[in-house]
Amino acid sequence: MSQNAKATEMKFDDQATKAAEPKNGADLFIETLKNENVEVMFGYPGGAVLPLYDALYKNPIRHILARHEQAAIHAAEGYARVSGKPGVVLATSGPGATNLVTGITDAMMDSIPLVVFTGQVATGVIGSDAFQEADVIGITMPITKHNYQVRSMADLPRIVHEAFHIATTGRPGPVLIDIPKDIAQTVGSAEFVDELNLPGYQPNFKPNSLQVKKLRGALAKATKPVILAGAGVLHAKASEELLQFVEKMQIPVVNTLLGLGGFPANHPLFLGMGGMHGTYAANTALYEADLLINIGARFDDRLTGNLAHFAKNATVAHIDIDPAEIGKNVPTHIPIVADAREALKKILSLDFEAPNAGEWRDKLDQDKKENPLWNTENGDGISPQSLMKLIHDITDGDAVVTTDVGQHQMWTAQYYGFNKPDQWVTSGGLGTMGFGFPSAIGAQIAKPDKTVVAVAGDAGFQMTLQELGLVAELKLPVKIIIYNNMALGMVRQWQETFYEERYSQSLIPVQPDFVKLAGAYGLRGYVVTTEEEAEKVMRETLTDNEPVLIDCRIKPKEMVYPMIAPGKGIHEMIGVKPQ
């Protein structure tokens, strides 16, 4: 971000042909986006944003018209996650804005940089319960990193510039800007200023050397060290440094759900994902470790299980850009407030002594061998686990994969095997059904040449399936894989395990013919009921450049294992071995 104090008068030279037309706040809005190098935005028009859409018509930026605002924002999240650029969203006031709430919260929980613009009724009628008025600032205050209502056209360039800065720096997150209609219609000009004046926002990037020294001491003493690598590694683009550090120190690595891909899954020191459906080796390592180095993870409850049993014998070191995450859930002995990459670079620049952990590594290798992930071999339907391994093979493990929340998400996390960063898009913190498909659309727009696979459950897919229209319109080669078990699989699993098989409202006997549904949008659709069929269809359709929907009939009663029951400690896994 340039810190030049140089203020430049706004120019409209490129529109000289339309020079007769006076410029207004909406024109200025488009200019501010171009000033931030916005290449694409996701949105949906409506009354309060008519001036903004009119300005967009005259001075275009690529705009993706989703079929529902929720899908627009999930697409923006997918775009942001794989491109590293902020996702930009535009929606109208009232219902347009409230339809964004799930996506904004999702982005807040998973630290996705978004800049969200909402229209608002004119300033003169704010507070009068005007048509399509909602208190979007009030509604989104707790779910944004920051939000603004533009009260004067002259403030627009400053606010937009600040918003992009806040959304993308420090711990990334969503920033919302509410633009009243009359502000967009105000005729005039405003100054662009590069300089940022945010005295209350100064994220710290560089690690404190005293704490780094403490980590060095702890490493020298450790005999059972483990690294927990979270999404902070991905946000900081620190996977290369992490790999170097791990190889130099020979420390085993556990990934969080959102951190997958930050460390290669095929590396011998990788133990797998930790947490509620983590591998035996990963959870055992977290439980028994004497030194736990958390890099960019927030000790979410789905990872830690019951805190009383989590890493209780470990010295805990925590590298995080957000100081509030350090010590929030787990008492921390070595707090390092820093960008993960900066911290690892600093650590690599010093001569750290590798811990004496040969025995520990051997033991964990043994754990990996003796208690691998497993799946049932018999029963009707496709094994969801084998299906994911198949998708991995056909896409060379190189696809961008997106999911909703639930069983299919866990199987994807367990079995796809992410070896590279930024190919994994999932709703982790908020656990949003209906996220996977639209986020795949955004990911495909960010990476037009990549294979993008949207994995969704049959229930979650039905929450945002209207976006088939967008896929058809843009001819996006998104590969939609429906893990169809005619149920809310994870809810069903919990009801089977903890509610004595009382399947309350979790079985969905009626669903559309997904093949015909795809056909209705002019898209290819297949239904597969055996692994052989699945392989045949996928080999043909996952590698070409066309969209496809594949309805995969998986074993309806398959469970995600291992599992830590709610309230249990990380060592109290069930389903570690086949029953």
């Binding site: 009030g138 707790p142 209502q149 945010l198 209350g200 404190n208 407030v337």
Partner: protein
């Protein structure tokens, strides 16, 4: 539960009080009182929070979460420092011709003043720290308190601090 006094200087943007009050509710921090007022710097307000916390980790979270707000410039847990805290309370007490003189005697050591007199009540203004005001209210209670309005505590650090009494650093920068 422990009482902690936390101060924050904030940019005087619209909605900043809403932001901070919402943060306290959302994170289940118990607030005993909040005061807000302008400072020596234009556009900067100072807030004083009295919070009830279970342990040090909770107050650490209060400080850190406040610090994360873009409009918040500086946060301090000043409980352990040399500080002066003051609160103003207005107390309307029922009176009869017989009790009026008694009440005068009771409030005198508190340096409180009667600022309004009616046929059957007086309104007393008192300034002091939390305990002093509590003590005076207790003494007046037997006469019948009709209404109490309190501002909540505001606080400022004393000009000179005892050695080693600097605030515990939870630190943004370690």
């Amino acid at each position: 539960m422990k009482r902690r006094i936390v101060t924050a200087t904030v940019l005087n943007q619209s909605g900043v009080l809403n932001r901070i009050a919402g943060l306290f509710t959302r994170r289940q921090f118990n607030i005993e009182s909040i005061t807000v007022g302008s400072t020596e710097t234009e556009g900067v307000s100072k807030m004083t929070f009295v919070v009830q916390v279970e342990d040090d980790r909770m107050v650490e979270q209060v400080v850190k979460q406040l610090n994360k707000q873009i409009d918040v410039l500086k946060v301090n847990d000043i409980t352990e420092q040399a500080i002066v805290t003051r609160e103003l309370a207005l107390i309307k007490v029922m009176t009869t011709p017989q009790t009026r003189a008694e009440i005068n005697v009771i409030i005198e050591p508190f340096r409180a003043t009667i600022i309004d007199v009616a046929k059957d009540s007086v309104t007393i203004q008192v300034v002091g720290n939390f305990d002093k005001i509590e003590a005076m209210i207790e003494l007046l209670r037997p006469y019948g308190i009709k209404e109490v309005a309190r501002t909540g505590q505001t606080a400022i650090k004393r000009g000179s601090q005892r050695l080693g009494a600097e605030s515990k650093q939870f630190s943004i920068l370690n």
